[in-house]
């Protein structure tokens, strides 16, 4: 899915020397990273290495301590940046789904369209329906989240994010909370998204997915990039001892 060679293009996401500390604990230690438009980048690494923190900094759910984050060339670490407008352009999918349990599936998908995008009811419904169809859950439009399986909930969460017509999607271990037999249906939806050309940054432990769908794999450990490259290289022929040890552990 990589865009072929238009050198003038700015990356969808660019992270420069990002540092993030929680009190004394430095979690990100000078992180440099980018995702091009239409690219699928999979971020792998041991638990506690700062993957979620990195992802959450990108849409400023966490405030970076220092460094720069540019979204489509625009510096979002700027104090004057309109964070709400920025977030509405970046879809985010959480490990724990985080659907709104008091709202029906339809309302989960329309509430931000109506309140943030100011779309008409009819338009919001139309968008919601087409996105539910995309994830194969149109028949659940009137259900409540608690009546859905984990896999279905995560697919609704993806449809909810897509309903805002985001320019890019962030996934934080979207299948880690799922029973093994439900992982496939969520990965299938993500694979379709990638095929359609969505810019994606995916934190995952699903090496098969990274191998097959990822344009690039980034292995991080202890708050910094250890190595990155095409999946065949990073997963198939890792250059660093830490990468090899990690891969041996997860396989």
């Amino acid at each position: 899915m990589t865009t072929d060679g238009s050198q003038t293009q700015v990356p969808a996401i660019e992270v420069r020397d990002l540092r993030k500390s929680f009190g004394e604990l430095e979690v990100l230690k000078g992180f440099d990273f980018h995702v091009n438009e239409g690219e699928v980048v999979c971020v792998i690494g041991p638990s506690g290495s700062g993957k979620s923190t990195l992802l959450r900094c990108v849409n400023r759910l966490e405030e970076p301590t220092s460094g720069q984050i540019l979204i489509e060339g625009e510096d979002i670490t700027d104090v004057d940046a309109d964070v709400d407008a920025l977030r509405s352009r970046i879809g985010m999918v959480f490990q724990s789904f985080n659907l709104f349990p008091h709202l029906s599936v339809l309302r989960n998908l329309t509430i931000a369209q109506r309140r943030v995008r100011r779309r008409s009811k009819a338009e919001a419904h139309e968008v919601a329906r087409s996105n539910l169809e995309r994830v194969g859950l149109l028949d659940k439009i009137d259900a409540y989240p608690s009546h859905l399986s984990g896999g279905q909930q995560q697919r609704v969460a993806i449809a909810r994010a897509l309903s805002m017509d985001p320019d890019m999607m962030l996934f934080d271990e979207p299948t880690s909370a799922l029973d093994p037999e439900l992982v496939g249906e969520v990965l299938a939806v993500m694979r379709d998204l990638a095929t359609e050309g969505m810019t994606m940054m995916v934190v995952t432990h699903e090496m098969g997915f990274a191998q097959e769908v990822g344009d690039r794999v980034v292995f991080m450990d202890d708050g910094a990039v250890v190595e990155e490259g095409p999946p065949e290289q990073v997963l198939g022929d890792p250059q660093h001892e830490r990468t090899r040890r990690f891969l041996k552990m997860v396989r």
Binding site: D84, R87, F94, I111
Partner: protein
């Protein structure tokens, strides 16, 4: 059915298995038996010894009770419910504001709300009612309309209690909900209104209903600010009749009316709690 089929099992080994001590089951049965006997004896004693005629005349005087109707319902009960409603509405609205202030990222708001909540939860409700109903009118020489005085007198304290309940409700909503809402581009305020507060309130409906029940009973403190015949609530209504007639029947009648209001409410809380427990 016949004796020959009913007996053999228990008499198969006469004496052989006869327990020297009572089994645990038998002990329990004995204790229960004794408790029943005590209960019945007490009841019989009460019936035999009590002065039923005096009791009837002073507590269950039907003629006197009859004179209380319909005013006990149309004026007294109505006022109790009206005052409760006003104070509850004020307490809920102001309590929500205080709860949001306590959760605010702006420190002075937090301090202010904390001071308010600690103050009015720490004072006797009666003191606040005196303050609003008598202290302030004396100090400033102004008299608010009675309903305003009543709403504030009860509502100021109710708000302090409800603020803590509401805050607990809001904090009980998983953090991921706010993050999901914000990640969709909602502002903090929008996320609060559409996502967090509705879920928080669902959690706290049972405790809030409890507070409503407490408030109903607290309306009985309002007598201290002085009432006219038209503004009496239940307890004041009953007390005045008690004094006039030197008879306790009005208190019994008023008590029954209170229970008619509060018992359904506590039942409602139970239903809500059960429903809440099931939906988790």
């Amino acid at each position: 059915m016949s004796a020959s089929t009913a007996k053999p099992a228990s008499t198969a080994k006469p004496g052989a298995r006869r327990p020297r001590r009572l089994t645990k089951r038998q002990q329990q049965r004995l204790v229960r038996g004794v408790l029943y006997v005590v209960f019945v004896a007490g009841l019989v004693g009460l019936v035999l010894l009590a002065d039923w005629e005096t009791t009837r005349r002073n507590f269950f005087n039907v003629e006197l009770a009859r004179t209380m109707f319909p005013e006990v319902l149309t004026i007294a009960a109505r006022n109790t419910i009206l005052y409760t409603f006003l104070a509850f509405s004020f307490g809920l609205t102001f309590g929500l504001l205080l709860a949001l202030m306590r959760l605010s990222s702006i420190a002075p708001y937090r301090w202010l709300a904390t001071i308010y909540i600690e103050t009015f939860r720490g004072l006797p409700a009666l003191l606040t009612i005196f303050l609003v109903g008598i202290g302030i009118p004396i100090a400033f020489g102004t008299r608010w309309p009675t309903l305003v005085t009543i709403t504030l007198g009860l509502g100021i304290v109710a708000a302090a209690y409800m603020a803590e309940t509401i805050r607990a409700g809001i904090e009980g909503v998983p953090k991921g909900q706010m993050e999901a809402a914000r990640s969709l581009g909602m502002s903090y305020t929008r996320a609060m209104i559409s996502i967090i507060i509705p879920q928080g309130f669902r959690i706290i409906i049972p405790p809030l209903t409890n507070e409503l029940g407490l408030l109903i009973k607290d309306t009985s403190l309002l007598f201290v600010i002085g009432t006219t015949p038209a503004t009496k609530e239940l307890l004041k209504f009953g007390r005045d009749l008690l004094n006039i007639n030197a008879n306790a029947t009005p208190l019994i009648v008023v008590g029954v009316v209170y229970l008619m209001i509060t018992v359904p409410l506590t039942q409602l809380v139970r239903v809500l709690e059960r429903r809440n427990a099931r939906s988790r």
